[in-house]
């Protein structure tokens, strides 16, 4: 029962879809089409990301992650964070559990904010698409401004939020 409860939003939406199907079948068909395609895309992209995160958790020592993303990692931290954030595909909420893991391993709050910002701004898998449909000027403004903005936000947030306060939740624990 508890397991089913976690799917309650899914079932509510399913009910909504059934109601729409009675009123307008073409909208319902379109919904199924778009939803089905994006769920398949996700199910295809997620397993390798989660496997890599799981392996990272087991193998990367706290000391080495502190070196790469800790408070004193400097320009190294920027590049490492950028690499982690931009190669993985997927929506931002996939990045939340990864961010918590990095925090626990010793990454500083500044780079976590930067990580989340970069994740939502630059995605290498769709970069080519952005370039071809919106042009290089648009893409360049988007990326450069976004990254600078989120880096500065990171510096600001680091002063407000302590790391201990943010680590509340264990991604590998059953909820």
């Amino acid at each position: 029962m508890k397991k089913l409860k976690r799917y309650r939003f899914f079932f509510i939406l399913l009910l909504g879809l059934l109601i729409i199907a009675f009123i307008n079948q073409s909208i319902a068909m379109k919904t199924i089409q778009i939803t089905g395609k994006s769920i398949l895309d996700m199910l295809f992209l997620l397993p390798p990301i989660f496997i890599l995160v799981g392996l990272l958790d087991q193998w990367v020592k706290k000391e080495s992650l502190i070196q790469y993303m800790g408070e004193k990692s400097g320009i190294y931290g920027v590049f490492f964070t950028l690499l982690l954030a931009t190669v993985a595909a997927g929506p931002l909420y996939i990045a939340f559990p990864i961010a918590v893991l990095l925090l626990k391993k010793g990454a500083s709050v500044r780079y976590i904010v930067f990580f989340l910002g970069a994740w939502s701004t630059v995605k290498l898998p769709v970069l080519v698409y952005e370039l071809t449909s919106f042009g290089s000027k648009f893409t360049l403004i988007h990326i450069c401004f976004g990254l600078v903005f989120y880096y500065l936000t990171g510096i600001l947030f680091e002063k407000i939020y302590s790391k201990q306060k943010l680590i509340k939740y264990d991604i590998t624990k059953e909820v």
């Binding site: 899914f10 939803t35 193998w59 698409y129």
Partner: protein, 160 residues
């Protein structure tokens, strides 16, 4: 597609190396990966469903008519509100943005719509709160809205 293949290749190589080095650790890692996947799955399915529903109700021509060339500041506000509903993956956002521009939407409005779609999510806020606590989740979303608005302003000044 290509990025998927690259990801699978990298994951397979690391998995293989890890398995040869330490079977127990690898098993633990895969078990944790599975739990992570299992934890996000209900939210993920619901969000995907919600996006599918929203995109078929809000058709590109409807969105374009709300945020057309002459929609101005009001168009920016509407884009911000529509974009902030849910976090949408970038591989949906960019094609959608491209389509609504072809339907006559204005570039700064589309910029703020795409940017907020990728970084601001009211539907996912409860999930974000569970992860980082309320204050941080709100602050992050607010900062993302500010970023999107300034980004649209720059696009408006430089490109139109």
């Amino acid at each position: 597609m290509i990025s998927g293949i690259i990801l699978y290749t990298i994951a397979t190589i690391y998995f293989g190396v890890s398995f040869i080095k330490d079977k127990h650790k690898t098993k633990e890692a895969i078990l944790n990966s599975w739990k992570m996947f299992h934890n996000v799955l209900p939210d993920l399915l619901a969000i995907m469903f919600f996006i599918g529903l929203a995109l078929s109700l809000l058709t590109p021509s409807l969105i374009s008519s709300i945020i057309g060339e002459s929609s101005g500041l009001l168009g920016i506000i509407y884009s911000t509100i529509i974009g902030s509903i849910a976090l949408v993956p970038s591989f949906i956002v960019f094609p959608l943005g491209h389509t609504i521009i072809q339907h006559g939407a204005a570039l700064p409005q589309v910029a703020v719509l795409m940017s907020t779609m990728m970084s601001v999510g009211l539907v996912t806020l409860s999930m974000e709160q569970k992860t980082f606590g309320r204050s941080f989740a709100y602050a992050r979303n607010i900062s993302a809205i500010i970023m999107s608005l300034i980004f649209a302003l720059i696009i408006g000044v430089v490109m139109t």
